[in-house]
Symmetry: C6
């Protein structure tokens, strides 16, 4: 079974960026597994500039990992 | 189709920095897709020193990735 | 004796992500060893968007380490 | 034309550190292009310990990139 | 004389994680050398979720350094 | 003339850690050059747990750079 993260390899940089977002969200979900609570919190932080920037920071760190894994798609 | 991120390779460091900014903004946009909401939030954080410094931090992490991808344009 | 961290090597990326979460929690536990206090704090931060995003950031940094250790499971 | 970032290569570590600061400031400037607004904000954050530490963090990440680009000036 | 940091090399990942914690604490101690003040602050931040997560982040960055130094104990 | 940062190379890990602290402080000093203002701010943040942890984070990032520069003193 593949699970939610079968590989860090993606075909394109864009797919790699989407995977980075998935990792960032999974990092939240593993701490707060309730879909309902996360949906409620989402309503708050998606209109909070600081939280959105912090989210983008987590995506950036994960994208760094995925880009390295893919040899930067060169 | 190329999409928004066809490659991490840029001709110059300056173009790489601009791409780092694009990645940082895309990290926000993927969480808050509404152009209208993001425009409103922008009005707030662009006059908030802490938010601007945090934004620059996200750009710095993304630039690290892009610079590595480009062999530091040496 | 193996202890809590016998190795950074995991069979799959998914197991590596789980190990990254374990490292993040151990980083907290080493500063606050009381199970009771941590359980109480968990009740607070698991409904706090900022804290959840910050947790995901710690996981992201640890995952970067573990992914590198595993040659990105290529 | 050279632009503001012709190269990541510097002659000395010290010049590399100055370039890291330039990148950090450019990360802010690209989000807030108004010299007047940035000057006003500067008056606030240059007497705010948290903002100064956060600024130093951005410089540190950029310096990491530049130091790697320069083979650590070894 | 060995001092407090004779080497980044440790026998096991677990010892490496403990060293990462030591580095994180030393980073605080060098700015606030008073044992008494640090003990007082510890009473505050060890029951503050945000501070504990931030501490875990510092440990994660230091562990990244130590893991690389040890070739990831492979 | 050597300036304040003649090299990233140090004889020992401990000297490398001290250099990381120097870089962190220089990152602040370049934004707030006034010794008097920095001394005043220091009186505030050296008794603030969050600021001390954030400082330790900046040191950790700089130490990562310096450790890599020194081949981890292996």
């Amino acid at each position: 079974m593949a699970g939610w993260l079968p590989s860090l390899i993606t075909e394109t940089p864009e797919a790699g960026f989407d995977l980075a977002i998935k990792l960032a969200r999974m990092g939240v979900k593993k701490t707060q597994p309730s879909d309902e609570v996360r949906a409620r919190l989402r309503g708050i932080y998606e209109i909070d500039a600081g939280a959105l920037i912090a989210s983008s920071q987590v995506v950036a760190v994960n994208f760094q990992t995925i880009a390295a894994a893919n040899g930067y798609w060169r």
